[in-house]
């Protein structure tokens, strides 16, 4: 059973502060809220648009819309900031798919430099160690990881090509990722 625990308090606190400021921008608070929300919006965009550029555009659009709503007081319950962002992202993805060009119009109203310029990048991976760890994987796990990550292929498609069940592929994928993580972390521990 999945427990959908959420972390909205910090987002909501920031949103309330922005809303309380009305039309007087609290740039530091707005930047902090954008910094917190940007990675999540980007991931949603990457998942649904499969394009880094499109995901970044979506991220900017959603954040600008959100700030607009908070400043104007149109977002009546600032604690629902994540829900509003999700709803906006869904709508913008639909709009983009329909070929609408909402972005240019919206961006004219807000300074672009308010938005986070880059996503917080994860720690760089040790490439040499990764090569070692990949080569050390059992053949099945390496094959499934290669086929999965080469073009983000879901388990059912990998399964058809390998003559396995989707459930079997998920098990192999899980084991492979865990083994890879353990191998990579053991290198960190000994470095």
């Amino acid at each position: 059973m999945v427990s959908f625990g959420v972390e909205t308090d910090d987002d909501a606190t920031l949103a309330r502060r922005i809303a309380a400021g009305g039309s007087t921008p609290d740039t530091a608070t707005e930047s902090e809220l954008c910094r917190r929300l940007a990675p999540r919006i980007r991931l949603y965009g990457l998942k649904h648009l499969r394009s880094e550029a499109a995901a970044r555009d979506l991220m900017q659009d959603v954040l600008v819309l959100l700030l607009e709503q908070l400043r104007s007081g149109a977002l009546r319950d600032p604690s629902q900031v994540a829900s509003f962002a999700l709803g906006s992202a869904r709508q913008l993805v639909l709009d983009r798919r329909r070929g609408e060009r909402r972005r240019a119009r919206i961006l004219e109203a807000f300074p672009i430099d308010l938005l986070p310029g880059a996503d917080p990048a994860p720690e760089p991976l040790d490439t040499t160690r990764l090569q070692y760890c990949l080569a050390a994987l059992p053949e099945r796990e390496r094959s499934v990881l290669v086929m999965t990550f080469y073009d983000d292929r879901p388990a059912d498609q990998v399964a058809v090509e390998l003559g396995l069940t989707a459930g079997n592929v998920r098990v192999i994928r899980h084991r492979g990722l865990e083994r890879l993580r353990t191998c990579m972390h053991s290198a960190e521990g000994t470095a």
Partner: protein
């Protein structure tokens, strides 16, 4: 200020990312990923690992065994493949060219009914390597092997032998032996 502990695991996040979930569950996870900064961090790290695996795959730093359909996707993506097809007992003069991204060997063998398949590689200078329990489709009639391109580029003139071994609880049986007469690209 309260915060509920997030118990979503990486498998669920990754299944969401790959679009493996039904639409109702996907919508629930859409909402969760938007609300949970921790999940965003974990998924971003997983995707970074995936990007690294993709880069290493394309760089030829390690070898792998894949279905022929996967090789078709490499070809369709514009990668340059040098392919060899061998029957059991066959041999081939082979190399890797400067412009080749991958060398692919299709090893034909009677795979139907084989419960487990191992590969043994013999190299006169490097010794013997055994790949246990390689993935294969028994209906395909061939095993597709993609050796490390970086490893192949390091080889001089050499002769390598590859054997496909059907493994059961009781015995091992050689399905085919294949000889690769390798020369470096001039």
């Amino acid at each position: 200020m309260t915060r509920t502990e997030c118990t979503m695991n990486r498998d669920e996040l990754f299944a969401w990312w790959l679009g493996e979930l039904d639409s109702a569950t996907e919508e629930r996870l859409d909402a969760h990923v938007f609300a949970c900064a921790d999940c965003a961090v974990r998924l971003t790290a997983l995707l970074a690992l995936g990007d690294a695996i993709r880069r290493e795959t394309l760089s030829g730093s390690f070898g792998f065994v894949v279905p022929a359909a996967f090789v078709g996707r490499l070809h369709a993506a514009g990668l340059r493949l040098r392919e060899y097809t061998l029957e059991p007992g066959g041999s081939v003069n082979c190399t890797i060219g400067p412009g080749d991204d991958f060398v692919v060997s299709h090893l034909h063998a009677p795979l139907a009914g084989v419960p487990r398949l191992d590969v043994i590689l013999d190299d006169p200078t490097l010794g013997r390597f055994r790949l246990d329990d390689v993935p294969f489709d028994p209906q395909a009639g061939a095993l597709t092997v993609v050796p490390s391109a970086q490893f192949l580029r390091s080889l001089g003139v050499t002769q390598q032998r590859m054997r496909l071994i059907a493994v059961t609880d009781a015995q091992e049986r050689v399905l085919g032996e294949y000889t690769f007469n390798h020369t470096p690209s001039s």
